[in-house]
């Protein structure tokens, strides 16, 4: 099925009743060259890059629920590449460039909207830090603009500029940042990967690994039987520790809950994505009009996909500090997702110490924007057995070597990242 203006016209003539399912819901074969655990954005992107870039098409993606039922469908859909540390800067820009061509690559409308991401600053020190980050981005060929107060006023006149405690002084703007439709990203990768022969297998929970006499992983045990594999890749952020434990591994990761919120629909207000620099609050407006926002993780270990009221209150206070007029807007819904919080706040994409088992983990709460980049570099690792050059620093042994990538400078306390 190829989507185009002609397919749309044809479907319109028949009253849109003849649209075909966009990907195959496969039943498992006995063996695959590569088995990916996890049918979220990262797992499906990995499968698509394996098939399209590296010519490995005998691939299965195993998903315990339905595709996109985990964090891929629970995030706030923000895409950006405004990172300051070596390792992150290049990787997230690789991902940003893949977002910019994703719809053409996949032949699927993922609603990528480069409406801009602005981080507001509220003090001289914060302006200096943002200027430095913006300069780092520009040196690396990434767009960044430091806006002064007048420029922010022009862009978002509705902000509370007179806040005595946290006056808005300006912001760091990345115009190429923005949002994408998270579910469509999952469906788009499923659509394109399935067309190249990748088997997407739902309701198939991995319950263990099969190993040979040398300890090499030879396949997985699942709720739908044993499936053999040349290599197994894990893309199960949120549950990485639980899946890795089946292979006897302990990871530098804690699972924490992050909440996200949507308000009732209001008329167009926000020009793009905005973050509050004095608290933790980020917000954008969906095409349907709802304000989509979030803040900090709850701060305690959790595998329950729901959070508690103190953080909800804190997030809403952050929003009210910037935009007091949203106090009259009602909250429509709220949910939680489980974050793979690594010990330095950065991801892990590496071989594990178990032969044949590869890790894609530790995305903290920044996994969505990384989806295409993560798929490319993980597919590279699975296909070539060497890290992609933009993922060379995301090694599992970096904690032992003291080569952490700690953007926030918090140290090994995952609930503070």
């Amino acid at each position: 099925m190829k989507y185009s203006i002609f397919s749309l016209a044809r479907a319109a003539l028949s009253g849109h009743k003849n649209w075909q399912r966009t990907w195959r819901d496969a039943t498992p074969k006995d063996r695959y060259d590569v088995v990916i655990i996890g049918g979220g954005g990262h797992g499906l992107a990995t499968a698509w890059f394996l098939a399209s870039e590296f010519g490995i098409k005998n691939v299965a993606v195993l998903e315990k629920g339905w595709i996109g039922s985990g964090n891929a469908g629970r995030n706030t859909t923000i895409i950006r590449s405004n990172y300051g540390l070596p390792g992150n800067t290049g990787f997230y820009e690789l991902s940003m460039k893949l977002w910019e061509r994703m719809e053409q690559d996949l032949n699927y409308n993922t609603m990528v909207s480069q409406r801009g991401v602005i981080n507001l600053y509220h003090s001289d020190a914060q302006r200096d830090a943002y200027a430095r980050r913006g300069n780092t981005m520009r040196i690396n060929g990434i767009d960044a603009e430091l806006l002064d107060l007048a420029a922010v006023r022009k862009m978002m006149p509705f902000l509370n500029f007179d806040n005595a405690r946290f006056p808005v002084q300006g912001g760091l703007l990345q115009r190429r940042g923005g949002t994408a439709r998270h579910d469509a990203v999952v469906w788009g990768y499923a659509h394109a990967a399935s067309a190249l022969g990748v088997d997407i297998i739902q309701n198939c929970e991995v319950t263990g690994f099969t190993r040979d006499a040398n300890g090499k992983v030879t396949g997985v045990e699942t709720s739908r039987g044993r499936i053999g594999a040349g290599k197994v890749g894990m893309a199960v952020a949120g549950s990485s520790s639980r899946v890795a434990a089946m292979a006897g591994l302990r990871l530098p990761i804690e699972s924490h809950v992050l909440q996200a919120f949507v308000s009732e629909a209001i008329k167009p207000l926000l020009p793009g994505v905005m973050t509050f620099g004095a608290g933790h609050f980020y917000v954008s407006q969906s095409d349907k009009g709802g304000l989509v926002f979030g803040g900090d993780i709850d701060g305690y270990n959790s595998y329950a996909q729901r959070g508690n009221l103190p953080v909800m209150e804190d997030v809403c206070e952050g929003g009210m500090a910037l935009m007091p007029m949203i106090g009259r807007v009602r909250l429509l819904r709220q949910w939680g997702g489980i974050m793979d919080m690594s010990m330095d706040g950065s991801p892990i994409i590496d071989k594990s110490s178990v032969d044949g088992l590869y890790l894609n983990a530790g995305w903290c709460y920044g996994g969505f924007k990384a989806t295409p980049g993560s798929g490319l570099v993980f597919a590279h690792l699975l296909a070539r057995d060497t890290p992609h050059k933009e993922a060379e620093k995301f090694r599992l042994d970096r904690f032992q070597r003291g080569a952490m990538i700690d953007e926030k400078g918090q140290g090994a306390q995952p609930n503070l990242h």
Partner: protein, 91 residues
């Protein structure tokens, strides 16, 4: 989630701060790098009942040892963590 502090009674979550898993124990000074790496960076990341340290900063300012299920948030036991901090540093 509410925590029943053994000193203050039932209090709302916002009064408490989380440290994490109570199981890792600081290795002896001569234990070597691997033991320190394990203590600082590796986690069991328990899915189920877990013993953990919470600080009641908005109340009695005592450290507590809370047994909580990470799958359901259900709290089954709360006890004072007196002496744990001292034991950690070998006092």
């Amino acid at each position: 989630m509410r925590i029943v502090c053994p000193f203050c009674g039932e209090r709302e979550l916002g009064e408490f701060t989380y440290l994490g898993d109570a199981k890792p124990a600081r290795p002896a000074a001569d234990a070597g790098e691997d033991a320190v790496f394990d203590y600082v960076y590796l986690r069991d990341n328990v899915a189920g009942a877990m013993s953990e340290h919470w600080y009641h900063g908005g109340g009695c300012r005592a450290w507590l040892k809370v047994t909580r299920n990470t799958l359901t948030h259900e709290i089954s036991a709360v006890e004072p963590a007196a002496g744990v901090g001292a034991a950690k540093v070998g006092a």
